[in-house]
């Protein structure tokens, strides 16, 4: 009967599905590659952040329009930046980097998202 045949097929599939340990693993070369790529990305992002971060005290040293001239009430550019803008920058940088890092890991490690049951596509 047709139904019986289908049940048999279902059973066969249950045997055939491999264990996650056999299916998902990382080789050293792949991990090496990811590390290289992630490291480069992280360094680029942190260079930008550190540059911004260090620019502020440098400006505070040399530029009166930065630290001494109020632009809004008593708030100078220096004040606003240190109190708010820098933190916001961190947050934005963090969000951007998280997205990049996750994507790099997704694309450079593991398999392409595929069906486990090797059906005829």
């Amino acid at each position: 009967m047709r139904n019986e045949a289908r049940d048999e097929i279902v059973l066969e599939h249950e045997h055939d599905v491999p264990l996650p340990d056999e299916v998902e693993f990382d080789s050293l070369e792949e991990v090496d590659a990811v590390v290289r790529t992630l490291r480069r990305s992280a360094l680029q992002y942190s260079l930008v952040i550190v540059a911004l971060l260090l620019a502020v005290p440098v400006l505070a040293l040399v530029a009166p329009w930065w630290f001494a001239r109020p632009v809004w009430g008593g708030l100078t550019l220096n004040f606003i930046t240190v109190a708010v803008l820098l933190n916001v920058t961190f947050l934005v940088g963090a969000l951007a980097y998280t997205r990049v890092a996750n994507r790099i890991e997704d694309e450079m490690l593991g398999r392409l998202d595929d069906d486990l049951e090797y059906r005829d596509v």
Binding site: E22, S27, D32, L112
Partner: protein, 424 residues
């Protein structure tokens, strides 16, 4: 829809009027006013249907464009029952037509709208008018129910009252027809005729495009099939050998190799267009090299150096792995101590180029052989020539392909693929 609305409005207005004139509710005067109001509403509603209808059917530019976009994916696949069904449904919904049908030369492919109980897909084309439209390549109109193609014996029950039929042409040859019906009695509005003409023209154009595309596809498929046939056999045999040997000593490794092999084959078989993101090609390369490493052991060393921006850039399918395979077979395998293969990918900001380099420190290629590599010579070297040819065709000459090699020291193959080409 419009009739009940108009009648209700008529009654409401007349009741308001009655109240305003301070008539008593149950008096004959009130009843008279209400009845008059209902009649007025009915009359206006009937008129409204015909005046509004052409407005509904007017062709705003936007809707037409969206219609083209929406039907194209279906018509691209050719004229069959499924694509016809999707298309008539789209036309029916977007243009708010009463009923729509598409036929090929012999049969009705799809029908949607009132009357679908006896106008069915798969029926023979009964309407002589439709046949004549196809044969004489003319647009025909009728308000005679007998020409609508209803099966014999059901004429009286069909809700359809009129139709416009236009032929669908491919290369000026009629391959089917588009029929647009109306349920309203009376003349067919000229706007409906124009609409049908326009729609038929649009569908015909799409069918022609599909034809041309298929032709090109067939050619490309043939080439890719040839390429794929070149990729697999020896590699497959060797890998299966390796796996069967490992199965004795390290069964976990053997199972992993089998999974990787199946990943490899699945990617190679997957044909989904001309281009894939570089990340997927990289996946193919690392799967391949994992398998080769099992065979060569420590004598094959592998290094990847990939810029994060490269991963989503589209590159032609199956262009990177053959380069790697070449490096393995002709560079490293020939060298007694083995060697290192490196895949580097960078995006060059100036010029917007994705530069992919395959570098190995194997035996190298003699100068004389280098020049003959680019010609189709037979043997596996032509894999490189094939890639070169595909790059030229796909990028129109804007891509670059360089090989440099020093015998005894190594080889370097470098591809320069422009970024931002939309339609590979």
């Amino acid at each position: 829809m419009i009739l009940p609305l108009s009648v209700t409005t008529g009654i409401a207005v007349s009741m308001a009027l009655a109240w305003f004139m301070e008539l008593e509710l149950a008096s004959p005067a009130t009843v008279l006013v209400v009845v008059l109001g209902a009649n007025a509403g009915l009359f206006l509603g009937l008129r409204g249907r015909t005046t509004l209808a052409p407005a509904r059917r007017a062709l705003p530019q936007r809707r037409m464009v969206s219609l083209v976009e929406q039907t194209l994916p279906h018509m691209r696949l050719g004229l069959n029952e499924e694509t016809a069904l999707r298309t008539v449904q789209l036309l029916h919904d977007v243009m708010r037509l009463d009923a729509v049908a598409i036929t090929d030369r012999e049969r009705v492919l799809a029908f949607t709208g009132p009357g679908s109980d006896h106008h069915r897909a798969g029926d023979e084309v009964r309407s002589t008018m439709t046949r004549r439209a196809m044969e004489s390549n003319k647009i025909l109109v009728t308000t005679d129910a007998r020409h609508l193609g209803c099966p014999p014996g059901s004429n009286g029950n069909c809700p359809l009252a009129g139709a416009v039929v236009a032929p669908l042409l491919c290369d000026d040859y009629p391959v089917g027809s588009l029929a647009v019906f109306q349920t309203a009695e009376g003349d067919v509005e000229s706007s409906l005729i124009e609409l049908t003409k326009g729609l038929a023209g649009m569908l015909s154009l799409q069918l022609e495009l599909a034809q041309a595309h298929r032709g090109a596809q067939i050619a490309e498929t043939a080439k890719l099939d040839a390429l794929r046939a070149q990729i697999n056999p020896h590699f497959l045999f060797n890998t299966l050998n390796t796996i069967s040997m490992k199965a004795r000593t390290d069964s976990e490794e053997a199972r992993r190799l089998l999974i990787k092999l199946s990943d490899f084959l699945r990617y190679a078989m997957k044909y989904s267009g001309h281009a894939a993101p570089f990340g997927e090609e990289y996946f193919f390369v690392r799967t391949y090299l994992f398998l080769e490493k099992a065979r060569f052991g420590d004598s094959l060393k592998v290094r990847y150096d990939i810029d994060p921006q490269c991963l989503s850039i589209p590159v032609p399918v199956l262009t990177i792995q053959p380069l790697i395979e070449n490096a393995v077979k002709h560079g490293i395998a020939q060298q007694p101590g083995g060697g290192l293969i490196e895949l580097r990918a960078r995006v060059e900001p100036i010029g917007g180029v994705l530069r992919v380099r395959v570098v190995d420190n194997g035996v190298g290629i003699e100068r004389e052989r280098l020049s003959s590599l680019m010609t189709v010579n037979g043997g596996e070297i032509s894999a490189l020539a094939n890639i070169y040819e595909r790059l030229t065709r796909l990028y129109g000459g804007r891509a670059s392909f360089e090989i440099s090699s020093t015998p005894g020291k190594g080889t370097s193959v470098s591809l320069g693929l422009p970024v931002g080409i939309n339609d590979l």
